[in-house]
């Protein structure tokens, strides 16, 4: 919207019409005064407009600050996400330990001398007990996974609310070069898996494709 119109400059134009020749220092000062008075209205109108727009921007920034605060990014960054990472690390470790224990038992049973049936049975019983104990990892990892899922839901709900309020639109591209390189590698070498149930093929279907 235009802040000024021709009327702001009427006095200035009239002064210049009257004074075309023999310009003195006094004329110049008068011209400056007339110009200042002519533009006063223009600047007042502009001040009000700019002030209104700045208030609007300030309001938007304040609302954005509030929404960012609701996101609780520091809590997510310093507590929730690192904690979820630790839980996932513990899950990997627990499953790895349990798998190794179970495989050691299986290898011991397979390699055992079965010539003395009583001794063989006692050894197998011992190893089976160790296998049962190792399987208890599943209870703990289930609880750890539930905590990670809760964190993801927490993040999801806050990010979804933020995106709605800010009417966020996604930009194309990648945040970092490493992110771009990972995406390109996945695409180039067809690194899609593992697939969830129903998204990939089972062995029978693969055999058909292969045949």
């Amino acid at each position: 919207m235009a802040l000024a119109d021709a009327s702001h400059f009427d006095r200035l134009i009239e002064f210049l019409r009257q004074k075309r020749d023999n310009v003195t220092f006094h004329d110049i000062i008068t011209l400056a005064e007339v110009a200042a008075q002519s533009l006063q209205g223009f600047f007042q109108a502009m001040d009000a407009k700019v002030y209104g727009e700045l208030r609007e921007i300030a309001g938007y920034i304040e609302s954005m600050r509030r929404e960012i605060g609701v996101l609780q990014v520091n809590e997510l960054k310093n507590t929730r996400i690192p904690s979820a990472g630790e839980e996932l690390g513990a899950i990997v470790k627990a499953t790895e330990n349990a798998t190794n224990t179970i495989m050691e038992c299986a290898e011991a049973v397979m390699a055992a001398d079965a010539s003395d049936p009583a001794a063989y049975k006692a050894m197998v019983d011992d190893k089976m007990m160790v296998v049962f104990e190792a399987c208890s990892f599943q209870d703990i990892t289930g609880q750890r996974i539930a905590k990670v899922v809760e964190t993801l839901q927490h993040i999801e709900s806050r990010v979804a609310r933020f995106a709605d309020v800010m009417q966020a639109k996604d930009l194309d591209g990648f945040l970092t070069e490493a992110e771009r390189a990972r995406a390109e590698r996945k695409e180039k070498f067809l690194l899609n898996g593992p697939q969830l149930e129903g998204q990939g093929h089972d062995q029978k279907m693969v055999d058909k494709l292969f045949g």
């Binding site: 190794n100 290898e107 067809l190 593992p194 697939q195 990939g200 062995q203 494709l209």
Partner: protein, 127 residues
């Protein structure tokens, strides 16, 4: 053609647990000469030092994937006849087709059992 139980086999996977599982399954099937590598480039180096009768490889590994390993092997005149089985969780059509085009001999989807491994090895050597 009967399977040569004395042939050296190279198992390629970045998870020690999976290498251990495949190694045990192969031993149960009667194979004794089993080596392993943790990615495609390590496997390629081993293949250039020792002649393997069979390669059993995962797909998703770093830095070199099993898919790249397969293509490298098929492009190398000294290695291109080596039978190659992909054992992977990559079970999309595009993966199976790409592996087939690259010259894989068979394709096993994880998780798998001993019988599947046995059947696929026999199928490769029956070709």
């Amino acid at each position: 053609m009967a399977v040569d139980m004395t042939m050296p086999i190279l198992v390629v996977d970045d998870y020690n647990t999976m290498i251990r599982i495949i190694r045990n399954l192969l031993k149960q099937l009667g194979f004794e000469d089993i080596d392993d590598a943790s990615d495609g480039s390590a496997a390629l180096a081993k293949m250039r030092e020792k002649r393997y009768g069979l390669v059993i490889s995962d797909w998703n590994m770093e830095p070199m994937t099993g898919y790249e390993l397969l293509k490298e092997v098929r492009a190398d005149p000294g290695l291109n006849k080596t039978p190659f089985i992909m054992v992977t969780a990559e079970s999309k059509t595009e993966n199976v087709i790409a592996a087939k085009k690259a010259g894989v001999n068979n394709y096993i989807v994880k998780p798998f059992n001993a019988q599947t491994l046995k059947t696929k090895i026999e199928a490769v050597f029956a070709e």
